[in-house]
Amino acid sequence: MSAMLLNKEKWPDFIGKLADKKLWVPQADGDAMRFAPIAEGAALPLEFSNTRVPPKQVVFPQTETLYRFQLGQEEMEQPQLEEEILLLGVRPCDARAMEIVEKLFRWDVDDPYYLKRRALTTVVGLACNEPCVNCFCPSVGGGPASTEGLDLLMIDLGEKYLLEPVTAKGVDLLAAVKEFLDEAGTDAVKQKEQVISASMQKIKRSVDTEGIPKGLPGLWEDSLWQRVSASCLGCGTCTYLCPTCHCFDIQDETEGFEARRCRMWDSCMFKEYTLHTSGHNTRPTRRERTRNRINHKYSYYVDKFDVIACVGCGRCINLCPVNIDIIEVLRQVKEAL
């Protein structure tokens, strides 16, 4: 199926028709936005640049039960993941992040939880008309209308959405709501190009990544790490809110005889992350931890999976309480190379 148009007035019908899946859309929460399941017929808010917590929380929940059991017994019960999810209004950067992280979860051994959730999720993207001040997706291989990781891309053309299917899932979705759609003409495609190029113009910040993946390990002892990490608080904001950060912890939790083994997001910016039981810590200060974070995204991941594990969403820059700015860090890296 080719690109289609959806008149915004028909949005409630469109949504209504898709209600057999669990719908997640960005919703206002005070001043911030967050993804949450919605009730039928809600509008898709458009006046937002992006949600604070990335939609990775849908395919990789912050806390996820691996299996549960009764204390003292050996039977383990695994979660039945069956509910289909429709994730609406995902920004292209966040969808791209899911694609990038999937490489790791497929590496050698398949991670059943992530892959199952990913398979159950249909991701409908919303191209960015108003990128935020710290967006830099074009510098790391993305763009305001990138389709990587998406099943369907929506582009806001004012009164209408242009819907472009990307995968078979996207085609099926369009077929299911055919009755509300109109064929998109060349006008719409032209309009889309205008919208996207206007959006590109609004992206002001950029990073030149050339040579960084190869060069980073060589800067191991460079003074820049001390400089950029001096003010770090060691909190998990940058990593928890990063769409590509995927590290986790596994813990057993019990209440009475009910127990479960679950995994939860963990952050390499925490001291405990590498702390051995013996008290030895392989990354004893925030200098090493910051260095590891940047290296992991811009060097190690590139070595292993041939892609930078940063999608340029700007969250870590926007939300860092002490203005540790990854663009500035990379500029300094570049300078030191």
């Binding site: 299996y67 017994q73 050698d108 059943p112 596994i250 057993d252 004893p284």
Partner: protein, 282 residues
């Protein structure tokens, strides 16, 4: 061997035999465990140097090296030092108790590539546990290797693991075995001194030899220094690393040292690789 569909699900195993290797606050207990599922037990294969996640449901899991060679039989051995929450719970286990095992994880010693070479192991304290499988493997395939030399040390004679085994090995003339403790003790008739200096006293020739070392970081550092002094090339030196791990198969992201995932690219590293991993000796 084939995993479960879900690699996070551990197998149940029964403790067949268990004994204390050393006493004290940080005692070491060895467990000989047998997988409960017969098919699994028969199909289980591991290579010297690999690890497994062992633990108890409701407490947690720890990455522990498998301290037996596959040549020894259809069982697994783990030597566990009492450190934290999980190891504390493991130490409570007695013969007949259940524990959870998943694995094996990581790479292993390239035993086939080493055929025809002399093997030198240099261990300290609990560091002998990951070396034991290679010792046993070489013993079982003695004809394929040109020699086996072991250097093993601990703080006191009470801190030495696998003492009984060493006593019998010392008596064998097809391998050479050297025990040492840090300080003189009454009734101790082996060497006294630190492992790195013991190595210098022996001065093994690097010719056609592979040196494998494991122990406390400080010992490893001096052993490496001394091996270099003796003329060992980087490719002839091997060691095993440990880092905090949660999943064991490259997902949780916690064990990376530089760009290497210890659980997948390790735990066995040759010094030729290791010397370029900046965090390896941190």
């Amino acid at each position: 061997m084939k995993h479960n569909d879900n690699p996070y699900i551990p197998y149940t195993a029964t403790v067949a035999e268990t004994w204390l290797e050393t006493g004290g606050e940080r005692s070491i207990k060895t467990f000989k465990v047998v997988l409960d599922d017969e098919e699994l037990r028969e199909n289980w294969t591991h290579s010297p140097g690999q690890c497994a996640m062992i633990g108890l449901l409701g407490v947690g899991e720890s990455m522990i090296s498998i301290s037996c060679s596959p040549t020894e039989g259809k069982f697994l051995r783990f030597s566990v030092m009492l450190m934290g929450k999980v190891t504390q719970a493991l130490h409570q286990l007695e013969t007949g108790d259940k524990m959870m095992v998943r694995g094996p994880y990581g790479n292993s010693f390239p035993v086939d590539a080493w055929r025809g070479k002399k093997i030198l192991t240099i261990g300290g304290g609990i560091g002998q546990a990951p070396l034991r499988p290679i010792v046993e493997y070489v013993k079982a395939n003695r004809d394929h290797y040109a020699g086996l030399t072991m250097i093993y040390g601990a703080r006191t004679s009470g801190d030495l693991c696998f003492k009984g085994e060493f006593e019998t090995m010392i008596k064998r003339d097809d391998l050479s075995c050297h025990l040492t403790i840090d300080v003189e003790e009454e009734g101790w008739d082996h060497n006294v001194g630190f492992v790195p200096s013991m190595l210098m006293d022996l001065s093994p020739s690097p010719e056609n030899t592979i040196a494998i070392t494991c122990g406390p970081p400080i010992m490893i550092r001096f052993v490496l220094e001394n091996l270099k002094k003796l003329g060992f090339a980087d490719e002839q030196i091997y060691t095993t690393l440990e880092n905090r791990m949660k999943c064991g198969f490259g997902k949780c992201g916690r064990c990376n040292a530089g760009g290497m995932y210890v659980c997948k690219d390790g735990p066995v590293f040759s010094y030729a690789v290791l010397k370029d991993i900046p965090e390896a000796f941190a």
